[in-house]
Symmetry: C2
Subunit: 143 residues, 2 copies
């Protein structure tokens, strides 16, 4: 019997639904220090990128780049940081983080750095809308 | 005039040549705490993954997976960590790190964690040979 994909409860708790791409769920981490997206391929039982089929790996990097560009534009960031660690949450997930030379953790990594600072409700809704619009625009430009 | 690829001096100083793949130079960081490889696409002027052509992005993720599998087997690691940060060294480079539940930085990230512990010369040569053999074997298996 094929195992069904279910979002890991820790990811579900820490992030907000943003967009469904062909392979990945795109979710926003609720940390206003740096706009931080997480891509989760909807494939059950995956812990490492190399466990995905080659077509899925290709799709993952394309979706990562789509999200990176949308994030860079929307957040007017200085740098994108990409990471797939999974040392705490075993379900394969892929971080795409907007970094600023002035952010609290620069030039270090965001993982394990300080504590999240949740968005205010209005800022959160504004950011979600802006990011969805940017993803939608960039998706259309690729067709 | 096309800009020519040249390995960034900081990467050249901190890492050792391991293997040349179709797109990337594969180099070993001299840190015995965790076998740590860095892939550098031989493309000039790149700072972000999404700046690569789509065919190059595909090649990058395939090479990353090839290297991940070889590293996982050779180092008998618990987990692979992947990252593309570039906050200090602007040339696009892609980390593939073998992690152990017992390593000095687990479960945190390796970036910014403590100080590198260089390999002894004999251990270094043994590891380089093993990693080259594993890459060679995995490359042949893909043909």
């Amino acid at each position: 019997m094929t195992q069904q994909f279910q979002l890991h409860p820790r990811l579900a708790a820490d992030t907000l639904a943003l967009y469904s791409l062909d392979l990945c769920e795109v979710r926003l981490l609720n940390d206003s220090r740096f706009p931080w997206l997480v891509l989760i391929p909807r494939r059950a039982g995956m812990g490492e990128v190399h466990q995905l089929l080659e077509a899925e790996q290709t799709q993952l990097i394309f979706e990562s780049s789509l999200v990176s560009q949308a994030l860079l534009e929307t957040a007017r960031a200085d740098k994108i940081n990409i990471g797939a660690l999974g040392n705490l949450v075993p379900q394969l997930h892929w971080h795409v983080v907007a970094r600023y030379k002035t952010d609290a953790c620069w030039p270090g990594p965001v993982w394990g750095c300080g504590k999240p600072v949740p968005y205010g409700e209005e800022d959160l809704q504004t950011l979600l809308t802006k990011l969805r619009d940017a993803l939608q625009t960039n998706l259309k430009a690729r067709l």
